[in-house]
Structures are given as structure tokens and as C-alpha cells.
């Protein structure tokens, strides 16, 4: 089932809360992941938690290209398509 941007953002928010016990503020497509205060290992933990929730796998080679929340939602939608 295709997920909307908003649904994916909420999933992301829940994953960050789970991994780092942190509540994120306002998020939009242009929010840069590097501004959210996650280090590289935590970011991968979050990616792992999202994979589990969405039952998808992010291809390794796509990870380097994700910089913003928008990049992430587009990738999720492409993988689910």
C-alpha cells in the first residue's frame, strides 16, 4: 500500500523516538537529516526500524544519496511501488 508523505514522516518520527528516545519538532520534505541530531550509527538504526515497520529494504547504494526527509519519502514510495 502506497504511503503518503505524511504517513512516512510520522513513521520516521516514531522510529527516532524508539531509537534515541527523542521527540522531533516540525518536519517537512526540505528538512535535512543532518540537522536532526542523529549520528551515523543512529541514522542506520532509524533506517533499520523503518525497514521493519514498512517491511521493505533500502538498497545500500541509495543510502548515500539521502539527505533530506523528502529524499527519504520519495525513496520509500519508489520501493513500495
Amino acid at each position: 500500500m502506497a504511503k503518503s508523505d505524511k504517513e512516512i514522516i510520522e513513521l520516521f518520527r516514531a522510529a527516532v523516538l524508539e531509537v534515541d528516545n527523542k521527540k522531533l519538532g516540525e518536519l517537512s520534505g526540505t528538512t535535512q537529516l543532518s540537522t536532526l541530531g542523529l549520528d551515523s550509527v543512529q541514522t542506520m538504526e532509524v533506517i533499520g526500524a523503518m525497514e521493519e515497520k514498512l517491511n521493505i529494504q533500502f538498497p545500500d547504494e541509495d543510502l548515500a544519496t539521502i539527505k533530506s526527509i523528502g529524499d527519504l519519502t520519495r525513496l520509500v514510495q519508489r520501493l513500495a511501488a
Partner: protein
């Protein structure tokens, strides 16, 4: 004296058909390679590489994320005397720019003419062709898959020939490639598998998620096990970082007996202790911990979390090593629980002496004893060896010492002096047991006293709101005296309150005045590709005012432009190198990226 080359060992392994390597995909699907098949496949890939024009001694840069492809290609190169240069793949989120700069510097320093990657990753790498001095071609491992012609003469290798170049994980602006020779590799493999682990290929099985571009993963779990044909199960590194429970789950599933990791991984596994499926760790006899400073608290919590699952406390094995020594220099004993000493802080800081105390003081983990046939010593700045309990630079000698840095006689001469490898690490020996207390270059000197940055960092970590393992302490020239600076990643709380809490805590526990506390968001501290803190880089970024500003002003468009720029350069570089090398149509390429 260990005779022969690694190639001899590889050829011997060809006889073994009933055990070998198991590679797990991201979905944990197994691909089995008995040693016989592994070696045959390596030989085939070696022939392909020869066919592409690579000759004995040529360096081959490798950027290959999949463990199966990495191992087969690496062994293929070695089988024909080609010298692989393993490099880390671009997998961290949004770090493509920094990755490309480092990759380009490593390739030109190694003077590699060819880079080998995979069909999936190479579209990101093509721009290296236009920007990297000496790099002539990028090929993909898929070209090594088909049958190969057997029309080449086998190469003959001497123990003194280079086997591969290991770029150290700190490699950034001035990368240095350690030349691992066949002789140093075979000597260290013997020390690890036979002297250190007392391995038995009929009962032992390694389990590893360690990155293969890093010495502990590559030498410890690929090359050394081949020399004694101990079977190994490989988990993809990203599988572990995405789902840390997979490490102990696979140890349990495959009845692993030997696994190793850096300190941080023990913390991560403990954090996910409750997320593990049912695991039984009774098979595990060696759980090595090395490659970064060992925090006794982290190890204790790990033991506490997994003891109910059958983890034996004595399986924890602290060890000490570095790429310049090929890999390992000392292992702790096999059957003893890990040990620590507490030493008096004043004596350490004022007299460079390690005086044992019963409580308080600095707690350090024993890294065990040096391997037979090798020597560890502690040296003062005049090159004099020191007695037990005196603090100085750790020096090492023996056949495991690699033959210096590639093409860099100045750095090699600085590291290898008077027959000793100078590690740059500070520490001491007590009755032959090694204790590491810090890095020489990181030593903080305040009011004429020496302070150990880790001791300060570990205190700062205890302040609520600071991220564990993400604190850097260093000294800077202040107005009239050196000032102590602490940079820490902040988890929560108000910056003002937290800064004051850090200052108060350091003053109470260590009696030191912190000149400045700088709080950065998680991920704000510079780290190496393997996640180690970079003290000197942190200090220089702090001094130049860049710290905490990187990457934080980019808008979405700017970020996407970075990716687009690399892709555009890639397309241009590919066109320049002939259409026949195009791997994907541009449309598919953009789909991969956006």
C-alpha cells in the same frame, strides 16, 4: 619463523571441501563457499584481472559493499600478485561529498590505475575518473563473473612482496597506506589463530559483521582463518547497524565460537538486548574487543545483559593492535575474565608512573600479553626502554610489523625507528600485561601536568544529557596559559545548564577547570569511517571556528545538487571513457538517485 606466502596458504586451502565461508545477504540468505570453491573462484577472478591488463605489483582500488563479492575479488587479486587497496563504500547517509574527496586521495596516494566496484555502486563513483590523478578505469565485479581463459603464467611471489595496502581508518587529508607483506600477514595470522586463539578448524567457527575494508574484519576474519581453514559466517555490516540484534542471533544460530568487535558495538548490542530473538550463547568461547579504547563499564553491562543467555564472562577478550603491526599485537588470555587495574591519578599525571590503587583512580583494561616471537616495550622520549609500571610510548617488534607506508619514506622512518614500531600510544606494562592509557599526540598538558583526555571524557560522559562515547577533550593555547576545551554531543537539556553541569562535574571529580564547554548536536563531532572520534580534527575545527557548522546551512536544493553534481560528472566521465562502458541508461541512473 613462519615460512611461505599467503598465496601458498590459499592454495593449501583448496584441498578443503567440507567447510569454508558462508556469506549472508541483507535478508540473511546464505551463500556457501567451501574453501575449495572459494579458492577456485578466486583463481578465476585473478585470471580476469590479468586479462584486463593488471600485473604483479599493480594496485587495484576496491569499493565493494557486498561481503561475498569483496572477498572473492580481493582473493582473486592476491592470487595473481595484484595488490588490492580496500576502501570503504559510500553508504552513510548524505556524506557523498566527503566520501568522494577521501576516495580520490586514497586512490592517487596508492597510485592505483584501476578501481573495481559493483554495478550498483559504480554510478556514484564515475566522477572519480575525471578528478583522480592516475586513475584510468573503473570496472565492475560483474566482469569477473564469467568463465576465464587459463592462458596466463602463474605468478611467483616472495614473502617480502606486498600483499595489500591497508589505509588506516583515520585517513583523511593525508592518507597513508600500510604495506602488508606476505611475510607480515603470515606471521600475524599465526599469532592470531594459533598463539592467540588456539583455533581448531574442526570445532571453531567465526561470526563477523566487521567491515572488510578495515583490518580487524579483513585480516581477522577473512585472511587469518584461511591460513588454518577455520570456517566463518559473514553478516553484512549494515545488517548489524540497522538491526544490532543480528550479531548475537547469528552467533547463536551458527554456533559461533569466535567473534570480535570494537567497544561501541558491545554498547549497541546491549541497548538492543531485549530485542533479541531467543539466543543461546553457550558456544561462544572468544568475544574479542579491540580497535578502539575499551571502556570497562561497557563490557560489564554487556556481560550482565547476555550472561542469562549463556555468555561466559571469560569469553570477553580485550586485545590491542593496529594496521602498522598488520593487525594484532596482544590478546588477553583465553580462560580468564577480563581484568582491570586502577592507578593513581596524581602519580600518572605528575610522574608518568602507574601506581596501583584499590579504589578511585583511573581504571584501565588489560590488553593481555604480547604474542610469542614478538616483543612489546614502553619507551621514553629519548628512546630508552622503561621498566614495569612506567608510562611511555608503546613500541612493538617482530615479524608481524608491516613494511612501512606505501611511497612515504618520511612517515615510514618516523614509525619504524631503532628496530621498533612506534605506535604513538601511551601505556605501561605490569608483569608483561599491557595497559593502554591514551594517544601521545592527544596528551593534554595543563600547568605542566600531563592529563589523559579519555579520563576527562569518561567523566564528562557521566553528566546527564551528554551522549556517551561522544565527548572530546583537548587543550588549546589560552590567553596566558593552556585552556581545557571539552566538546560534547548533547542529548537533551538546556545548553547553559548542561555546560555548567559539565564544568562542575569535572572540577569535583578531577579538580580541573574547563575553559570552555562546546555542545554540538549528536553527530556533530568529527569521526572516522569506522566511527572513532577524531580528537585532532575536532581540535583544529574548533580552532578554526568550523565546528558544528558543517552541512547545517544547506537547503534541500543544495543537498540534492551535490548528488546531481556527482552524477553529472559521472555521466561526463563515462562519455569521455567510451560508451561501451556505460552500465545503466541515464534514466535508470537518475531513478537510482532520486
Amino acid at each position: 619463523m613462519i615460512e611461505g606466502t599467503f598465496l601458498d596458504a590459499l592454495i593449501r586451502a583448496q584441498e578443503v571441501t567440507d567447510r569454508g565461508f558462508v556469506f549472508l545477504s541483507n535478508d540473511l540468505v546464505e551463500t556457501n563457499y567451501p574453501f575449495s570453491k572459494l579458492v577456485a573462484e578466486a583463481h578465476k577472478r585473478g585470471r580476469h584481472l590479468q586479462k584486463m591488463g593488471l600485473k604483479k605489483g599493480d594496485r587495484l582500488a576496491m569499493i565493494i559493499p557486498e561481503s561475498e563479492e569483496f572477498v572473492l575479488t580481493f582473493l582473486g587479486a592476491v592470487s595473481v600478485g595484484v595488490v588490492p587497496v580496500p576502501m570503504y563504500p559510500p553508504l552513510a547517509l548524505g556524506k557523498l561529498d566527503g566520501f568522494m574527496d577521501t576516495a580520490s586521495r586514497i586512490i592517487s596516494t596508492a597510485r592505483a590505475r584501476m578501481l573495481i566496484s559493483t554495478k550498483k555502486v559504480s554510478p556514484l563513483l564515475w566522477s572519480l575518473l575525471g578528478t583522480t590523478k592516475g586513475l584510468e578505469d573503473i570496472v565492475t565485479v560483474e566482469r569477473l563473473h564469467g568463465p576465464a581463459a587459463w592462458d596466463q603464467e602463474p605468478v611467483t611471489l616472495a614473502p617480502s612482496d606486498p600483499c595489500f595496502l591497508q589505509f588506516t581508518s583515520g585517513s583523511t587529508s593525508d592518507p597513508k597506506g600500510v604495506v602488508v607483506t606476505h611475510a607480515s600477514l603470515m606471521a600475524n595470522a599465526h599469532a592470531i589463530m594459533t598463539d592467540g586463539l588456539k583455533s581448531n578448524n574442526a570445532v571453531d567457527r567465526g561470526v563477523s559483521w566487521l567491515p572488510l575494508y578495515h583490518d580487524m574484519g579483513l585480516i581477522g576474519f577473512v585472511l587469518s582463518p584461511i591460513t588454518v581453514t577455520v570456517p566463518v559466517v559473514f553478516i553484512q555490516t549494515l545488517s548489524f547497524v540497522k538491526r544490532p540484534a543480528v550479531w548475537m542471533e547469528m552467533v547463536s544460530k551458527y554456533r559461533g565460537t569466535i567473534t570480535f568487535a570494537p567497544n561501541f558495538a558491545f554498547g549497541l548490542a546491549t541497548k538492543y538486548a531485549a530485542k533479541h530473538k531467543e539466543v543461546d550463547l553457550t558456544s561462544l568461547r572468544v568475544l574479542g574487543c579491540g580497535a578502539e579504547p575499551i571502556n570497562p563499564g561497557t563490557m560489564r553491562k554487556f556481560v550482565e545483559a547476555f550472561a542469562p543467555k549463556g555468555l561466559k564472562e571469560q569469553s570477553i577478550m580485550p586485545c590491542y593492535g593496529m594496521a602498522e603491526a598488520t593487525l594484532a599485537m596482544s590478546f588477553d588470555g583465553l580462560d580468564a575474565p577480563f581484568r582491570t587495574v586502577r592507578i593513581d591519578r596524581d602519580a600518572y599525571e605528575n610522574e608518568n608512573a602507574a601506581k596501583r590503587v584499590d579504589a578511585d583512580g583511573i581504571e584501565l583494561v588489560s590488553c593481555g600479553r604480547v604474542f610469542p616471537g614478538h616483543e612489546l616495550g614502553v619507551m621514553d622520549t629519548d628512546g630508552k626502554l622503561l621498566a614495569d609500571g612506567h608510562v611511555g610510548e608503546i613500541v612493538f617488534s617482530g615479524q608481524s610489523v608491516a613494511s612501512g607506508y606505501f611511497d612515504n619514506p618520511t612517515a615510514s622512518a618516523a614509525a619504524l625507528k631503532h628496530g621498533w614500531l612506534h605506535t604513538g600510544d601511551l601505556g605501561f606494562l605490569i608483569e608483561g600485561e599491557l595497559f593502554i592509557s591514551g594517544r601521545m599526540k592527544d596528551l593534554i598538558i595543563l600547568n605542566g601536568r600531563n592529563y589523559h583526555p579519555q579520563a576527562i571524557e569518561w567523566e564528562v560522559e557521566k553528566v546527564d544529557g551528554i551522549r556517551k562515547g561522544n565527548v572530546v577533550a583537548f587543550s588549546m593555547r589560552g590567553d596566558d596559559t593552556e585552556k581545557l576545551v571539552v566538546v560534547a554531543e548533547q542529548r537533551k537539556g538546556s545548553p547553559d545548564t548542561l555546560s555548567q553541569a559539565v564544568k562542575d562535574h569535572v572540577r569535583t571529580t578531577l579538580g580541573l577547570s574547563v575553559g570552555e564547554v562546546m555542545l554540538v548536536p549528536p553527530g556533530g563531532l568529527p569521526k572516522t569511517s569506522s566511527g572513532k572520534l577524531q580528537r585532532r580534527k575536532t581540535a583544529s575545527s574548533y580552532a578554526s571556528g568550523e565546528l558544528g557548522k558543517e552541512d547545517r546551512t544547506l537547503g534541500s536544493n543544495a543537498a540534492r545538487t551535490t548528488v546531481a553534481r556527482h552524477i553529472t560528472r559521472s555521466v561526463v566521465a563515462r562519455v569521455r571513457h567510451g560508451v561501451k562502458k556505460a552500465l545503466l541508461a541515464p534514466a535508470a541512473l537518475f531513478r537510482t538517485v532520486f
